[in-house]
């Protein structure tokens, strides 16, 4: 490891830490620890990507923020409230939306019902949020009576995002949004995420398609074996020789 990289910090100074701030997070599944001392920040309006090799624990970071793993130590602060160890039900109330990687729609429910479920914690389905989702993804409105299981992969991904946007979250967490999409749809999906971010929602994303993700994002983290190794602007990481060699295939 060269001198320049070794000096690179994996955490932002505390006065720059914004919306989401993860410090020294240890987490895993049952007795198995996957993450150790992970640091991560997402500032208000920022677009942050986590890249890294398979099995590094990228998805686990997201699940841990959302309270879906076994909490083992450290802090997760969101909007000035400590949320480590909370239930997903409570974290949703704080303003985080999460789109899991697989099986992220209710296949047997209609498109409209899926979106209604996204606003389950509210007493009534917010009509303006529903309209906004339909405006963002017009294909969903066309198919609102169809079952989600009958949609194509790309449409299901849109529905999953739409469901998470129903509560107008401050932070949207996306786990591999391009996974399983046909190559010509990947670009379109990233464009849509750009627009969601441009409209003021912070985005935290895990991606296999690291080059594209880093090109798009404001800042990226490289996660290796459950610890984050680097953090830098997306373009800087893309230009980094070692990151290219190790994780981006040269």
């Amino acid at each position: 490891m060269s001198g320049a990289q070794a000096s690179r910090e994996a955490r932002l100074p505390d006065d720059e830490a914004g919306l989401l701030s993860v410090r020294d997070l240890d987490a895993g599944y049952g007795d198995l620890q996957v993450l150790s001392e992970v640091d991560l920040d997402v500032q208000d309006g920022e677009y942050v990507t986590i890249v890294g090799p398979n099995g590094a624990g990228k998805s686990t970071v997201m699940k841990s923020v959302f309270g879906l793993t076994t909490y083992m130590g450290g802090t997760v602060t969101f909007d000035d409230a400590e949320i480590q160890g909370s239930n997903p039900e409570d974290i949703i109330h704080e303003g985080i939306g999460y789109v899991p990687q697989n099986e992220n729609v209710f296949a047997g429910l209609s498109v409209q019902e899926n979106l209604e479920m996204g606003a389950y914690i509210l007493d009534e389905v917010p009509q303006d949020a529903l309209d906004a989702v339909y405006e963002r993804f017009p294909i969903l409105e066309e198919r609102k009576q169809q079952t989600a299981g009958s949609l194509s992969g790309g449409q299901q991904q849109m529905l999953a995002m739409g469901r998470a946007l129903m509560l107008d979250p401050d932070l949207l967490m996306l786990d591999e949004p391009s996974a399983g999409l046909a190559p010509d749809l990947v670009e379109d999906m990233f464009d849509r995420i750009d627009r969601i971010n441009a409209d003021g929602t912070s985005v935290l994303m895990v991606e296999q398609n690291a080059k594209e993700a880093l090109r798009r994002c404001d800042r990226g983290y490289v996660l290796v074996q459950g610890e984050n190794s680097y953090m830098d602007d997306g373009d800087e990481l893309l230009g980094d020789e070692e990151v290219r060699q190790e994780f981006l295939g040269g």
Binding site: F66, L68, P88, E89, I92, H93, Y98, P100, E103, N104, V105, F106, A107, G108, L109, E113, E116, M117, G118, Y120, I121, G149, R163
Partner: protein, 404 residues
């Protein structure tokens, strides 16, 4: 030319799917036999390998077919109603609840005990009047002097108790409500102390736990009510009509109406209400439901309440139409309920209803062919039909159509 094509096609079909051909041929024989019976055509007694199969055709009035069908419909609706509960708990809690039949028994006993008390004491009004008299001294004691214990334990003869929808309709309605409420209460208590502590366990552990629960309930019922099978309802002065030679009494009509109303209510609940949609969402994908903020524990509680309520109602109605009740009533019915759920496609309540009707109809209409010594083989006939349907549609009638 067309005929040769059709013949070729037929030959190819027989070659490629001999099983289906055998089924079609067998069905055709049964159908011909039925037609022969209806027109009164008979072909000597047939004996194969020393077993007397009875005559081909024979004589059977059309009205008997109608009355078998009606009986099948009645029992099918009860099985369907009970199957909804099993299907719901299966799809949302992910395990096969072997105690389900005993929930049905418990519902039947508790509901009928309530009916006996009210009917046996002379109705709801005298009970209220006497209670007011006992407390305040106003009015008078109007209840009959009856042995309350033998009423509660269903030991009073049904005629004396007046357990009849015509003579004491209010007692029957209250009994139905009590069956629903007590079965729900029992299911919630059992969930709290047995299933909730092992919520994360795999389906097999939960299933074995439920077998334990089944024994617990069954013998608790036997301990309280005794182990004899009894006739509970009375058909004294019960109105009945005869349609196409089929006697339809008020108990059966009550069953059909209540069962259909409950099924419609269930449909509306699942399709139209927020809670129902959440139940379907959870049946679909439990992890995603959690991530979406659906309160999963509350949905599980609601599932138990709905499933147990319907099952308790099914138990009460079963006794209303069949009259007999013993501590193994539900347990005996459980196999048929499972068959209905599996045949309909596990997890679908519409499948459960359809499966219940098919099982019910098969177990009664098969009497057309199963006569004499064979008349006790109606349940095997229903199971055989289930196996046949699963051979051709392995995921069940409504399988793959997820409806919760």
């Amino acid at each position: 030319m067309n005929r040769t094509n059709a013949l070729d096609h037929g030959v190819r079909y027989v070659r490629t799917s001999p099983g289906a051909t055998a089924v079609v041929a067998f069905s055709a024989i049964l159908l011909l036999d039925l037609l022969a019976k209806l027109v009164g055509f008979s072909l000597g007694p047939l004996t194969v390998a020393g077993i007397d199969l009875g005559p081909f055709g024979g004589e059977m009035p059309f009205t008997r077919l109608v009355s078998y069908t009606w009986d099948g419909l009645v029992i099918g609706l009860v099985i369907g109603l009970a199957s909804i509960g099993l299907s719901l708990t299966y799809s949302i809690l992910n395990f096969a609840n072997f105690a389900h039949g005993d929930y049905l028994t418990a519902g039947a006993f508790s509901g009928w005990a309530a009916t006996y008390i009210i009917a046996g004491l002379g109705g709801l009004l005298p009970i209220v009047e006497s209670a007011v008299h006992a407390v305040t001294g106003v009015g008078q004691r109007t209840i009959r002097n009856t042995d309350l214990v033998s009423l509660v334990l269903l030991e009073t003869p049904p005629g004396t108790a007046g357990a009849n929808v015509w003579l004491s309709p209010i007692a029957v309605v209250v009994g139905l409500a009590v069956a629903v409420v007590l079965t729900i209460a029992m299911a919630l208590v059992i969930d709290r102390f047995v299933y909730k502590p092992i919520r994360g366990a795999d389906g097999i552990s939960l299933l074995i736990a439920s077998i334990g629960v089944a024994f617990g309930i069954r013998y608790l019922v036997a301990l309280v009510f005794g182990n004899s099978r009894r006739i509970v309802t009375s058909t004294d002065q019960l109105p009945e009509v005869t349609l196409i030679g089929t006697r339809i009494d008020a108990h059966e009509v009550t069953l059909v109406v209540v069962a259909i109303l409950l099924m419609l209510g269930m449909h509306v609940l699942l399709q139209r209400t927020k809670l129902g949609k959440a139940m379907r969402a959870m049946a679909d994908n439990r992890d995603l439901a959690r991530v979406t903020g659906i309160p999963t524990e509350r949905v599980i509680r609601t599932t138990w309440m709905l499933g147990a309520g319907l099952t308790g109602a099914a138990g009460f109605l079963l006794v209303l139409s069949q009259a007999g009740l013993g501590f193994t009533t539900g347990w005996r019915l459980l196999l048929l309920i499972f068959a209905a759920v599996i045949m309909g496609g596990i997890g679908s309540i519409y499948g459960a209803i359809a499966g219940g009707l098919v099982i019910g109809l098969a177990s009664r209409v098969s009497l057309v062919w199963l006569q004499g010594d064979f008349s006790s083989f109606t349940s095997p006939a229903a199971f055989a039909l289930m196996i046949l349907i699963l051979l051709f549609r392995p995921s069940g009638i409504f399988g793959g159509v997820s409806t919760a």
